[in-house]
């Protein structure tokens, strides 16, 4: 593959970039909570120090798309066994997404639970590897959200709003902190082998923010990023010649138009593009990983190989300074995601098997490299599942209570937070809304969710809109 070289980029620019271009690259006058750049006066992805003390520098969000069942993974309910097949008192027909198919008849969990770690965190037998990391987890059993429908619930978890069009959490984080490695996208999305979740690219949209803050999907094969390399027929030498002439003319044009930072920024963007070519290829090159690491993530087994690869990629990306990595488990729809309408056991057997070892491997690998201390790992989906049966063997969507967990940067491991009623139907203790979760993530990254705002149509928007409280009990 032809590549540009640094020399090619700099060849006609004397000592390198002019002062303007350099300042743009470094973003020297960018500050946290900076007003929205309508013109590229500073590099939108230049690193910005967090305004408050930060425990985490980066985020890996393991998104179990489709709605994993809290009742079968982290929130055991013996009452469901007792009531198996019988009505439960808390059930309301209007809460069921599938209407008539979900009747008031409890379904016992097909799985066994045990308490793990010093803290005695309940984890089902579908997550044996993860169970060995119990003392790293802060398990929040009192999550709730505003919709029991995939598309709006996904939007809410990703963007804070159940409507389309708001910037996603990764966009907010990169807007607030920039990137520590401009040679890679600041916000990377790794999809499941089954394809994109519903809502597609809107799940990692920059909304009304500039395109710089958009999530960039990395492809599983070939060039990781679109347009990374020239098309066939454009050789290395040819590309180099083009860039040389382009650099010369752009510099002359800038010299004739002094004071135009936008022109300098565009010259610098070609430099970044050049660096991205080698950095992106290097980041996805797993050949350098020893067999022991590959095995840790389950790359040696078919069932875990795809998600394992993405978890390993996530580690390689955060290691290189990528700010936010979103890793999806589950794609497309229905059984290809965690959407266990028809057969909970069959569905969760598969998706747990695909994710258990890779997630545990990721946590352990991050830890052994000292990265877990300042990398926040989040696990969860867009909602939970009903304690009542859908059809005979499935569970329906449930928004009133579900479980998520966090680990790593600034999180108090071995914590159980919040509680649900005997059936896992309603939250009974310490309810945590999606904005609460988002506020906590931003807090860990050193940002006040009330002050991280982006002006759009004359209003200062927030990821948490008008609510959100940091979950103090989750903090180390």
């Amino acid at each position: 593959m032809p590549r540009w070289t640094r020399r090619d980029m700099l060849m006609n620019t004397g000592a390198g970039f002019g002062g303007l271009a350099l300042r743009w690259l470094l973003g020297s006058d960018a500050g946290a909570y900076a007003a929205a750049p309508q013109a590229p006066r500073v590099n939108p992805l230049a690193p910005k120090p967090p305004p408050l003390a930060a425990k985490a520098k980066r985020v890996i969000f393991l998104f179990m798309y489709g709605g994993p069942s809290h009742l079968d993974l982290f929130d055991p309910k013996p009452a469901l066994t007792k009531y198996d097949g019988k009505p439960i008192p808390v059930f309301k027909p209007e809460d069921a997404f599938m209407g008539g198919k979900t009747r008031n008849a409890a379904m016992a969990s097909p799985y066994k639970f045990a308490r793990h770690g010093q803290a005695g965190i309940d984890i089902s037998d579908r997550y044996p590897h993860l169970a060995t990391c119990a003392d790293d987890l802060c398990v929040i059993r009192s999550m709730h959200c505003e919709s029991n429908n995939h598309a709006p619930a996904l939007f809410q978890m990703q963007t804070g709003s159940r409507f389309a069009g708001r910037p996603s959490m990764g966009s907010w984080v990169t807007y607030g902190l920039g990137s520590e490695n401009e040679n890679l996208p600041a916000y990377v999305v790794l999809m499941d082998h089954q394809g994109a979740p519903v809502n597609g690219a809107l799940n990692w949209s920059n909304g009304f923010m500039p395109a710089a803050y958009q999530g960039v999907p990395f492809r599983p094969t070939g060039d990781p990023i679109a347009y990374l390399n020239p098309p066939p027929g454009v050789t290395d030498q040819r590309q180099r010649t083009r860039l040389d002439l382009l650099g010369k003319w752009n510099e002359e044009h800038l010299a004739a138009n002094p004071g135009e930072s936008a022109l300098a920024a565009r010259i610098a963007s070609y430099e970044l593009a050049y660096r991205m070519q080698s950095s992106a290829a290097d980041a996805v090159d797993l050949a350098a990983e020893p067999a022991s690491v590959r095995e840790l993530y389950g790359l040696d087994q078919k069932v875990t190989s795809h998600f394992g690869r993405n978890c390993l990629l996530a580690r390689r990306l955060v290691e290189r300074g990528v700010r936010f990595v979103q890793v999806y488990s589950g794609g497309n729809e229905g059984p290809k995601a965690w959407d266990a309408h028809d057969d909970l056991k069959k569905n969760h057997d598969l998706h747990c098997a695909e994710t258990d070892k890779p997630i545990a491997g990721l946590l352990k690998d991050l830890k052994s490299r000292g990265l877990l201390d300042d990398t926040l790992v989040i696990w969860g989906g867009e909602f939970g599942r009903t304690p009542t049966a859908e059809g005979g063997k499935g569970r329906d969507h449930h928004a009133k209570a579900f479980t998520m967990w966090m680990a790593g940067g600034g999180i108090k491991g071995g914590t159980l937070y919040g509680a649900t009623d005997d059936f896992g139907y309603n939250v009974t203790e310490h309810p945590v809304s999606v904005p609460d979760l988002h506020a906590t993530v931003l807090h860990l990254l050193g940002m006040d969710h009330k002050r991280l705002t982006y002006p759009f149509m004359g209003r200062d928007f927030r990821l948490t809109d008008v609510s959100g409280e940091v979950i103090q009990a989750a903090l180390a």
Binding site: A151, F163, G165, G200, V216, R238, L245, W249, A262, S269
Partner: protein, 741 residues
């Protein structure tokens, strides 16, 4: 969800402190102990959940982080009363239920508080905010020594105040390139540039403007601006991103309307109430697609009646938010759950607008093969339809205010009408339909109010938008928010003057373009200078013309135009050019064909590229085209390495560079010297005589490249062509190509 607005908080506090000593003592004796027992564990002292502190009277009246929980004198409108009621959601306190007697105490206390001078009651809200006042009728300042029309007098007066001087007029090649991109989104041809540069007649420039305004490219360019506002897309966005096979008819309606210079009032009426304006007109019905453009989730609404009603209201929320922002510069969408935080828009105003749209239904109206309305009796032979938002009859669906926007928490009934702050000058409640009417008439009544010459917002908002698209920034920078939280106008009198000119011209936008573009302000050079930049770095006072980067559509269209491949065909279903194969794999929901080789059917203007919300066309998206999930009043301008990658490496760019080279070779004839080819290439791409040294640079690089290709075994003719392609590709990447001076 927020509760109420800061603005009303002030009102309540003032009202509360003004009197009501009986209420004071009632609070201390009865209410406070009750709150202490049931609420203060979470709302006071150590914890103040949601920012609500119920330990003292002042704090209770101050309310939560998101706004007050008490509306003085109105227990039924007070959130506190609602939440402690049996249907409260979230019910407070979380466990248990206040007794009837306890609830009565709280109600009595609230009743005893002085009634606030508000809003929800339907009384006009007072505001001295500039945009809500009748526009002034300023005369351009006289006695100015610089300028060509009234605009310049206003601009110069402001520059004088800041101690700045306007810039000299740009050279003619710059002017014609600026005007051509501005009005058509395309570059001028070298012939057009030369004709203007050499035209000695005094009205040469005016004739260029008139020619451009009359060209079909005008509607494609300015229609695209409107499509940003109208959040136009060809798919639903949510979930499986369902296709909208007839959405393009709305896009074509917009382009045609701009080209026809349709009076703005008519444009407003058709889009909001086309079925009431002329139910027999396919054009008017198509215009109601404005209300259908928002994201939708039709394939995946929940199964219950409640889910469907929520979804219906969410869709109407998009219509209300978009309508108020686009036509009025009001962020009324912010008042769905609570009174507006900044503007005097009580929550009831939102529901007055909901009442206007509440009886509409989404309809696919059948068309015959010629795109005319199919007869009701005749079964249409084609599957062709248009997307409309219409009413089925004159019976209005009753509307109730919804506390916190929650469909399960109904408040008082609300009638359709204008925001109460305008009710002194407009009917707060629109007339009921006349007997025999086919619809409720409420949308037409709203449109008539919006389009009325005396509406204080409509014409300022429109004039400001037109100004913004010419200069990159509006006189009011927050173009869809003229409210208290919006930006102040940099030139308020100029804005009012432009608005009054628009009204005087019958709402014809082309006349406004002509006025703006023939001003000396618009004709200034874009060259910066250190002294002025130190005073006004953002050029808000327009001491020069700001340089602007082309939008994504203009980048792609200019590439096609320069390469000589642009297919001028207008209208019809959206086009689907080639996408990288990996992108198609990544989304299993798209129906985008795998194009192996692009042809003229793909090389149409970018306004016709199919807008798939979940798979936006990369070149447009990377250059900041909006995602169409909500109205977009101003695009950000990003500079990204991924933009450089697409311009360098996309097959489209390399393919078009090849066609650009072939065009040069074809037009120059056999044996044309490299210098002639290079000069023509520079002219085509940059629209001016080549700068010094450029032709020599190009010839030198082409000679070296050709030699290298020959050395690698290519025949001479191919080697020369490849070297020319390199030059063409470089030109399409230059800053001079991407920026308009």
């Amino acid at each position: 969800m927020a509760i109420a607005c800061r603005w009303v908080a002030g009102v309540v506090l003032l009202a509360g402190t003004g009197g009501a000593s009986a209420a004071d003592s009632l609070f201390d004796e009865k209410v406070k102990p009750l709150l202490a027992t049931h609420c203060v564990e979470c709302h006071g002292g150590a914890k103040t959940k949601s920012g609500l502190d119920l330990t003292t009277r002042e704090r209770t009246l101050k309310g939560a982080e998101s706004g007050p929980v008490v509306v003085a004198g109105k227990p039924d409108e007070s959130l506190l009363v609602h939440l402690i009621g049996e249907k409260g959601d979230p019910h407070m306190p979380p466990k248990g239920q206040l007794s009837e007697a306890e609830t009565r105490v709280i109600r009595t206390w609230i009743e005893g508080l002085s009634e606030p001078p508000t809003v929800a009651a339907g009384k006009p809200a007072k505001s001295d905010h500039w945009a809500f006042q009748k526009p002034s009728t300023p005369k351009p300042p006289e006695g100015r020594e610089w300028g060509r029309n009234g605009i310049d007098s206003f601009i110069l007066a402001r520059l004088d105040k800041a101690g700045l001087r306007p810039s000299a007029e740009a050279d003619r090649a710059t002017l014609v390139r600026r005007a051509t991109f501005d009005l058509t989104g395309l570059p001028p041809t070298p012939e057009e540039v030369k004709a203007f540069v050499e035209d000695p007649s005094p009205d040469a420039y005016e004739r260029v403007i008139d020619r451009l305004l009359a060209s079909p490219g005008y509607g494609e360019r300015w229609g695209r601006h409107w499509l940003d506002l109208a959040r136009y897309a060809d798919s639903g966005g949510f979930h499986n991103d369902l296709d909208r096979p007839s959405a393009w008819r709305y896009r074509d309606y917009v382009i045609k309307s701009f080209n026809a210079d349709k009076p703005y009032g008519q444009f407003v009426r058709e889009q909001l109430a086309g079925d009431e304006v002329d139910p027999a007109s396919a054009e008017a019905l198509t215009a109601t697609g404005f209300g259908r453009n928002g994201p939708s989730n039709d394939d995946n609404v929940g199964k219950t009646a409640l889910d469907r009603e929520k979804y219906r209201l969410d869709e109407l929320d998009d219509v209300i938010s978009t309508t108020s922002a686009v036509f009025l510069g009001l962020t009324l969408g912010c008042a769905r759950c609570h009174d507006h935080k900044y503007d005097p828009l009580p929550q009831a105003d939102y529901y007055r607008f909901l009442a206007v749209f509440n009886s509409t239904v989404k309809k696919e109206i059948p068309l015959d093969a010629d795109g005319r309305l199919a007869g009701i009796t005749k079964q249409p032979k084609t599957k062709s339809t248009l997307m409309a938002l219409v009413e089925d009859g004159p019976k209005a669906r009753p509307t109730r205010l919804l506390w916190r926007g929650d469909v399960k928490n109904e408040g008082p009934a609300v009638e359709p009408g204008v925001p109460v702050m305008f009710s002194a000058v407009a009917p707060a409640r629109f007339a009921a339909p006349a007997s025999g009417a086919k619809t409720t008439g409420q949308r037409l009544a709203l449109a008539d109010w919006i389009a009325a010459p005396e509406n204080p917002l409509t014409w300022r908002v429109l004039a400001n938008r037109v100004w913004q698209y010419h200069f990159g920034r509006g006189i009011v920078a927050s173009a869809s928010n003229f409210g208290i939280s919006g930006d102040r106008p940099t030139h308020p009198e100029l804005l009012d003057w432009l608005a009054s000119e628009l009204v005087a011209n019958g709402g014809k936008i082309k006349l406004l373009h002509r006025l703006i573009m023939t001003s000396a302000t618009y004709r200034q050079s874009s060259r910066s200078n250190t002294e002025a930049a130190a005073v006004d770095p953002d050029v808000t006072l327009l001491w020069r013309m700001p340089k602007r980067r082309l939008e994504g559509e203009a980048v792609r269209d200019a590439v096609l135009a320069v390469a000589g491949t642009l297919n001028p065909k207008m209208g019809g279903p959206g086009i689907k050019p080639k996408l990288p194969a990996e992108m198609l794999v990544a989304s299993q929901r798209n129906k985008w064909p795998a194009v192996t080789k692009e042809g003229p059917e793909h090389w149409r203007r970018s306004v016709y590229v199919y807008v798939k919300r979940q798979m936006l066309f990369p070149m447009l998206e990377l250059f900041d085209a909006p995602g169409a999930s909500q109205t977009c009043d101003r695009r950000p301008v990003s500079t990204l390495p991924t933009q450089a990658l697409v311009l360098m490496n996309d097959e489209f760019m390399n393919d078009q560079a090849g066609r650009f080279a072939d065009r040069l070779l074809r037009e120059a004839g056999a044996g044309a010297p490299p210098a002639a080819l290079a000069e023509r290439a520079l002219w085509l791409a940059l629209g001016r005589a080549p700068a010094e040294g450029r032709v020599a640079d190009a010839v030198r690089v082409m000679a070296a490249q050709s030699a290298a290709y020959r050395a690698a075994g290519k025949p001479a003719i191919d080697a020369d062509r490849d070297a020319l392609i390199d030059l063409c590709h470089v030109l399409l990447n230059t800053n001079e190509f991407l920026y308009v001076e």
